[in-house]
């Protein structure tokens, strides 16, 4: 069959070097002719100028970044302000009343204490917590974010960030995979398939974890609300809380760029590729459809995942809190062992244990922390071990963490930083392995963020203690 190829090569030699260009040219000439005779536009100009004016602001070298900050700040502020009331309602309904009611039923049918404990105080309570803590912010945040996406704003963000990525030796499309990561890191890692160069793709995979995912937003929002927002007068609390979340996002972008830069200067050396990014037209978002799909698809999907993870985690929490080895529970032993490390990085043993329990899903960090704190700190508050205290709202979660857990503002700030900088969840790790088929890169992608988290938290803790803030 090769004679055909030889013949092609012979004929090619007889042609000018720019055959490819000629072919493309005739394609475009025909396309232009057909389009010219089929399309009729009357007032197309007016519309296009609106798009252009918007783009002039949203992709401006300076104003583009300002607009980005304001838009994301607005989204978080809405989320924080809007989630407070429904969160409290769900809390009263599911955690306080639901738990007491379920416990009553179990007692009435004479279930043994350990069964009631495992199922009601463990499994049910953990899932109820997850719903109360996660559902309201997700139901507000996802639709807002999807509306921005629908409108056509995300490619503008990519456009703004492109220069920064190129300068850090990464592919401009990494800005898009980063955006995907803000929903789910596993999805973001899969999305890196749009990057052709293996070098740049690995950079995008390794740094995707610095985009805060669905599972981590609630932790940030809650910490921002009850600790950071609380240090200013109530009138400003919402703004400061939203600002603290935006600050963590910005730190995340900074870390993404810095890590990309160091990787492309060391183990993943090379030139950054050029590509063309199409800015789509701004499209009026379809509000109802967006609400529907983002609630059904994203919110409920994430919630289901959280629940599936929370139920066994609840059982684990109850078991380690109630199975005793010697004079203390397993959880107490583990917390004692982890406490020194926790102190060094400005966190505590309970938080580190929670991160161990919550490796399968970041979603359940806060419920795990609160339940562990309550189980272990219950004695100091005079309640029976394993019995949930009555917690009314977010503020009371804060009270519990402060009184029973010994939390300070430093703990909360460092937890926010650690939320950004720690190992990816097990699903993401698995996805990274699937995409890279390399144990080496998967290990790096898992341990690098964790190492950074330890370093950054130890640094802030050290500085805060040195200056006498904590």
């Amino acid at each position: 069959m090769t004679d055909l190829l030889d013949e092609a090569a012979r004929l090619r030699r007889g042609l000018s070097d720019d055959v490819g260009d000629r072919v493309v040219e005739s394609l475009y000439t025909d396309a232009a002719r057909i389009a010219g005779t089929s399309v009729d536009r009357d007032d197309a100009r007016a519309r296009l100028t609106v798009d252009r004016a918007l783009d002039r602001v949203l992709t401006h070298r300076v104003w583009g970044f300002v607009a980005m900050g304001v838009l994301f700040f607005g989204v978080f502020w809405f989320t924080i302000a809007g989630a407070a009331v429904p969160s409290d309602l769900l809390y009263v309904l599911l955690v306080e009343n639901g738990h007491a009611w379920l416990r009553g039923i179990f007692d009435a049918v004479g279930s043994p204490w350990w069964l009631t404990g495992l199922l009601v105080d463990g499994v049910y309570l953990a899932t109820a917590w997850v719903v109360a803590v996660m559902l309201p912010p997700m139901a507000i945040f996802f639709p807002l974010f999807t509306l921005l996406e629908d409108f056509g704003y995300l490619p503008r963000v990519a456009f703004n960030l492109d220069r920064l990525f190129a300068r850090s030796g990464a592919h401009g499309k990494q800005a898009l995979t980063m955006m995907m990561g803000y929903g789910c890191n596993a999805a973001g890692v899969t999305a890196t398939r749009i990057i052709d160069s293996r070098r740049e793709r690995l950079i995008a995979i390794i740094t995707n974890n610095f985009s805060i995912c669905n599972g981590r937003w609630p932790t940030l929002i809650l910490m921002g609300t009850i600790f950071v927002g609380a240090v200013v007068p109530p009138a400003l609390a919402g703004f400061v809380a939203a600002g603290s979340v935006v600050a963590v996002v910005i730190v995340g972008i900074g870390v993404t760029l810095a890590v990309s830069w160091s990787l492309s200067r060391t183990v993943l050396r090379g030139e950054s590729s050029v590509y063309s990014l199409e800015l789509p037209p701004y499209r009026p978002p379809q509000i109802w459809r967006t609400l529907y799909t983002s609630i059904i698809d994203r919110t409920l999907k994430v919630l289901r995942r959280a629940l599936v993870m929370a139920a066994p985690a609840g059982a684990v929490i109850w078991l380690i809190g109630n199975v005793h080895l010697g004079d203390a529970s397993v959880a107490a032993h583990l917390v004692t062992a982890l406490s020194p490390l926790g102190w060094v990085i400005g966190l505590n043993g309970v938080i580190l244990l929670a991160y161990l329990v919550a490796v399968p899903a970041n979603e359940i960090i806060i419920p795990t922390i609160v339940m562990l704190t309550l189980t272990l700190g219950a004695n100091t508050l005079g309640a029976a071990p394993g019995v949930m205290l009555e917690l009314g709202d977010d503020a009371q979660i804060g009270t519990v963490l402060v009184t029973a857990g010994g939390w300070t503002l430093l703990t909360a700030v460092n937890l926010m930083l650690f939320t950004l900088l720690h190992n990816p969840c097990s699903t993401t790790v698995l996805t990274i392995w699937h995409e890279t088929r390399s144990v080496r890169w998967t290990t790096l992608a898992t341990l690098l963020p964790l190492g950074l988290g330890f370093a950054v938290c130890a640094l802030t803790a050290g500085v805060a203690r040195l200056l006498g803030w904590a």
Binding site: M1, T2, A8, S38, V39, R41, A158, T190, R193, E278
Partner: protein
Amino acid sequence: MAAPLPTPGVGPSPEQEPAGACASCALAPSSARLARLGLAPGRYDHVVALAGNPNTGKSTVFNALTGLRQHVGNWAGKTVARAEGGFSYGGTAYRIVDLPGTYSLLSTSTDEDVARDVLLFGRPDVVVVVVDATRLERNLPLVLQIRQITGRVVVALNLVDEARRHGITVDTRHLTRELGVPVVATAARRNEGLPELLAAIAQVATTDDPPKPLRLIHHDPALERAVADLAAQVEARFPGVPNSRWVALRLLEGDAGIEEAVRSGTLGELATPREAA
């Protein structure tokens, strides 16, 4: 009442439509309804490939046809993996493959290779090219390239709602004549034009005599001679290959994928008659 779609190559000659088929359409119009089969089409009769530039609404069309809810976003390149689904229309089951969005089939990236291989070697029964009505000129090169490979094409002129808002009107009848295949105006987000699109898909899928692949004339005598010369040899080597001119053109440009298909002989499979699955 929408005018019947002009479909070159399947002219309304009387013996073309068996009387039974027509009678059943008229008697039981409900049998021509769309049934969305989601992910698992199971048994299927025809394969439909969905191609188009990035961000023209391919995923929206895909979702509208299959009832799936693949993530849709207003940006280019968000469909990474190839998505597949199914639907049934008029009692016939279709399997539909959503290809990554590409600007061309010139094989400059993995996406373009995937799309080209599916279109050429997958030999779908119908290729639906989703086109952005507001940017027709930029979308047409891909349509023309696909038309060079196959005549089993339906053009979905999507986003006509947006075009209307921008004061742009596209003459679909004229476009149909120019491209030699059905052009259907759609606004997939609002399910506008879907019945017409389905009818056109069904018609192209079942025809035994699709339009011939498009012959683009290159205004360069030397190139024209070389293409004609090589196309003749391609046909001599692989008798019955429907798109010999396009293959010749790709070989002249040194397309590695096509050269490989020549070497391994897979190109010859294109000549075998398609099996009605």
